[in-house]
Amino acid sequence: MTRLRSEHRKVFRFATALSAVVSLALLSGCKLSEVFNLSGPQSTMLTAGPVAKSQWDLFMVTVYVTTFIFVVVGGVLAYAQIKFRAKSEADEHAEPPPQGHGNPLIEIGLIAASVGLLVIIAIPTLRDIWYTHDVPEAEKANAMDVTVTGYQWWFKFEYPTEMIKLPNNGGEAPLVTGNELVVPANVPIRVQLRTVDVIHSFWIPKLAGKVDMIPNRANFLWFKADKPGYYYGQCAEYCGESHAIMRFRVIALSASEYVKWLNNQKQPAKSVSTDDVAANEMPHAQFASLKLEDGSALSGSPEFDANPLEGWKKQQLPEAGEKADQIAAGRKLFQEKTCYSCHTIRGHEGIGVAGPDLTHVGARSTIAAGVLENTHEHMHAWIKDPSHFKPGNKMFFGGYNTLEGDVWKPNPKLQLNEQEIDALVTYLHSLK
């Protein structure tokens, strides 16, 4: 057997030291506490409802049990590694130790102990499988139904119990919104999970673990928000090119605020008449190409992130000094550029169901499925080049561009200049 020569030992120690230094540098370079951060907006630890809490508590049971096993077994292993190490070259070439073959009693004891430890995990597991499955009987009467439908790559939310009169034909249909689910706090919400294309998965980490949205399958989940708040969610099943940016929000409101929101949502799109043209001081946005400083977020500015629920509430209020002429121009463009064939603006134009309902888009805190904060700049940049933010999206492939043979060609009818986009943005932002 070859043994490390002494001069090699030095090099070896140096290499070990080097890798230790490199890893230490790594550790200090990016603040260690940040690496093990569990306080993000999609933390599964900082739960905000009973379902997520039961899941985290169960997780912690598994953590305690497995940590115990790891410490005990690892301790024995470490002890054996140190205690029975060949300490010198002579040791390595000494007579082999006694050739023992095993001990059935030890084995059986260890198997029994492992089974016992697993039972500790199994009992709360079974309890929580039933608890997290559906709204508890006692609360069923109080529960509220919503239906979410996954599209590549956004979410449609429907309120089947909130029927609204359609403005044009006198029919009725459930209230529809997109990418932001608004619910009352402290009410169990039973979410029907549907999809129109591929499999998606509905996940709001702080409120509930995920359940998949599978074609031809009637899945559901339930959650309850303990208190009003602004919660982040995301598609958790790979669903194609822009899976990474198929996001959504859940906004839980107090009962009175929820009713207020609901009543506003049930109204058809707001019209701003030219009479409203006041001496508005709205600063004209500088629609330069979107440049972000390194590390800044697309989905929320620091001011917004500081208190997202307040940010969302502010978004509900009409903007100061709306320009009626701009808005009218935007509404006209919405027609001319055939935006309505995919998007609905209830009470104005629109019959489309392929894209999100825009009836109250101005009141949403995000656009493009939770990817961009709903500011003028962002919406301008999004309308200008949606594929920059969401590769493969159907507004770009199918709207702005059409397929000829196997090549995508720009659709000349759908090209917009900067002024036109400004008008569209102003119009869409007036829809609170």
Binding site: F36, L77, P215
Partner: protein, 667 residues
């Protein structure tokens, strides 16, 4: 011995009909391209598997580093979303089917016949067939990459629907690319290769053990090879059916998974994981075997609780077929099914834990010699324990609802598949390198690479537990900077570079050792099993005489009972000569030709509806004719293969064990 020498020109009686039909005469050259293409020697086949697998391991590693580079900072644009999806799809597919599985196959080939005291596998030409069919599968899976370099080849890039290919994303409506069809065929072909190879190894292990080598004396690695082979032949038909159904949906308008036709995408998940979960054990059982060989060697005492280690391996194999739906806890299976699979998953942790207890028992009271293979083996135990612990966490289904498809899962299975499978394989490569190349790997550089890999690996994957718990979903091309994931991702990416440097060092050292390593004898590690009793590298015929096995650690027994064995050996050699010398199988062209036929057939079948273009002009309206041509080549090769007869030749040895007349009895 003298008598044996006197008879050395004796060629024995012919076992096969003298007249066979040879359209392509059986090659006799052992070297050069023809030698390697037509070889039936299990050691050369093992080397080819190993070489290709390491190549794909490095390719898969580069894909991983590109993924980590894209994620190093939020909102990064290092690669496009589409390319990122191709990278993670091919990283998974490559590492599982083209790196870890064939590396295990390489060791099956290199070691199983020698550990059971045989001269080759039961069906040597079939073994060659498995190898080249595997290469066909590898080509089909990876050919899509060429589109990125030659845009005129319209494969649509590499496959991009994930290694798990969940329907209906594999439907033509969502992935119209040709590469998806090639992926379907590629996996199917790899399945053929694995089933053929597994049957070969099952027959070999059951029928070709040396006298005295009872099942309960088999080396643990060979036991695990046997269990793995059974898992493969039972698991692969499930995915074969699923892939066939996708192929029909994509090409012939059936509705197995087509939602608009009432298809059930959930069916794919069940079929896929009925294969996919045993597959996990297919990846981990052989490395458990390597570790069970390496630990006793360097602790210098036998494996603790051999029967229980073997039994737990078999138990894992059985229970492994009953836990597939724990990959589907979030698909809305309902309470009863979720509970059943949850409990079954906890149950499988028991035999897995038992193995760890026995490995520790092996170390206990031993004299641990810390060589590089031992370091990787110990690393395996530690890291596999980590992966096992997070595995138990997943078994609690409600908790898994938060972890499923998050980075927590990525951390878990990389601890099992890198910390487990790959550490086991890296240990095995270091351990058996001297046996098959006759040269030692320098300890120093081996240890440097170990520490780089160990530190790099943990820096990469440990933070991912926290990323997952902090809500980061997997398979995401990018992430926003206000999610609290920035530092974890930066750290993981730096760790990945360190891991990359470690892996590079590891293989660079092997290349160096191949040319410049210190030469070694039969038994550099004081080994315990039969492979250490023969020269390094082993001769073509492995054993001068088929050994008689007296105990579980056969070679350890030989070393401790030298006189008895020496006498017995002389008798055995004499016996063997009296039977006409050492009978060896002949090489053949047909396994290679049939694989070529399969390549032509499947490549064209995948694009059967597309016209054949040449120089910008359409020369055939569909690929049907070419697909049929490939099929005909395949069938014809198999037919001619059957006609060429078994054949073979005899080797006669001189007193030093060198062949005197290797083609004396060629017929």
């Amino acid at each position: 011995m003298a008598e044996a020498l006197a008879k050395s020109s004796f060629t024995g009686t012919r076992h096969a009909p003298a007249k066979t039909f040879d359209l392509f005469p059986r090659p006799t050259t052992k070297t050069g391209l023809i030698g390697w293409l037509t070889t039936v020697d299990h050691k050369k086949i093992g080397m080819l598997y190993g070489g290709f697998a390491i190549m794909f391991f490095l390719i898969g590693g580069i894909e991983a580093l590109m993924i980590r580079t894209q994620l190093i900072v939020p909102n990064n644009h290092f690669v496009s979303a589409q390319l990122y999806n191709e990278l993670f799809t091919m990283h998974g597919t490559t590492m599982i089917f083209l790196a870890v599985m064939p590396l295990n196959a390489a060791f099956f080939n290199l070691l199983v016949p020698i550990q059971i005291g045989a001269r080759d596998v039961a069906f040597p030409r079939l073994n060659t067939f498995s190898l080249w069919v595997w290469v066909v599968g590898a080509i089909l899976l990876n050919i899509g990459w060429l589109s990125h370099f030659v845009p005129a080849w319209k494969f649509g890039g590499a496959p991009s629907m994930g290694w798990f290919g969940y329907a209906p994303l594999t439907s033509r409506a969502f992935t119209p690319q040709l590469s998806t069809d090639l992926w379907v065929f590629g996996l199917q072909v790899l399945g053929v290769s694995s089933i053929v190879a597994s049957l070969n190894f099952i027959v070999t292990i059951i029928n070709m053990r040396a006298p005295g080598l009872t099942m309960m004396r088999l080396p643990v690695f060979t036991w695990m090879a046997l269990v793995t082979s059974f898992l493969l032949i039972l698991a692969l038909p499930a995915i074969a059916i699923a892939l066939l159904e996708v192929m029909f949906d994509r090409n012939f308008g059936t509705n197995f998974f087509e939602v608009s036709g009432g298809g059930q995408p959930i069916l794919w998940q069940h079929l896929f994981w009925v294969f996919g979960h045993p597959e996990v054990y297919i990846l981990i059982l052989p490395p458990m075997g390597y570790v069970s060989e390496i630990l006793p060697t360097f602790a210098r005492k036998p494996l603790f609780g051999y029967p229980i280690v073997v039994f737990s391996g078999v138990a894992i194999g059985f229970i492994g077929f009953g836990v597939w739906s724990h990959h589907m806890f979030t698909t809305g299976m309902g309470t009863i099914a979720t509970a059943a699979f949850s409990i079954a998953t906890m149950a499988i942790a028991v035999p897995t834990g038992v193995k760890i207890f026995n490995w520790i028992g092996t170390l206990w009271g031993g004299r641990i010699v810390t060589r590089v293979p031992m370091m990787f083996a110990l690393g395996f135990i530690w890291m596999f324990m980590m992966g096992g612990m997070s595995g138990i966490m997943h078994a609690a289904a409600p908790a898994d609802a938060q972890q499923q498809d998050s980075y927590f899962v990525i951390a878990h299975f990389h601890y099992v598949l890198i910390g487990g499978s790959t550490f086991g394989l890296l240990a095995a490569i270091h351990f058996w390198f001297p046996k098959f190349f006759g040269r030692m790997v320098p300890e120093l550089w081996g240890k440097v690479s170990f520490w780089l890999i160990f530190v790099g690996f943990n820096c990469t994957f440990f933070p991912m537990h926290f990323l997952g718990l902090n809500g980061m979903p997997r398979r995401t091309w990018t992430y926003d900077s206000n999610m609290g994931w920035n530092a974890g991702n930066l750290f993981a990416s730096c760790g990945a570079y360190l891991l990359g440097i470690g892996i590079f060092t590891y293989f660079a050292v092997l290349v160096y050792s191949f040319f410049k390593g210190k030469k070694c004898g039969n038994d550099p590690w004081d080994g315990r099993t039969l492979e250490w009793s023969i020269p390094s590298p082993p001769p073509e015929h492995n054993f001068a005489s088929i050994p008689k096995v007296h105990a579980r650690d056969a070679f350890w027994y030989e070393k401790t009972n030298k006189e008895e064995i020496a006498k017995e050996k002389a008798e055995l050699i004499k016996d063997e000569e009296s039977h006409g010398g050492i009978h060896m199988p002949d090489q053949s062209w047909y396994p290679f030709f049939s694989a070529v036929g399969l390549l032509i057939g499947t490549y064209n079948m995948a694009q059967i509806h597309l016209p054949v273009m040449f120089g910008g002009k359409e020369i055939l309206s569909s690929h049907m004719a070419l697909a049929i041509t490939g099929g005909v080549i395949l069938l014809l090769s198999c037919y001619l293969w059957a006609l060429e007869g078994p054949a073979g030749y005899h080797i006669h040895l001189d007193a030093d064990g060198n062949p005197t007349d290797s083609h004396g009895g060629h017929y």
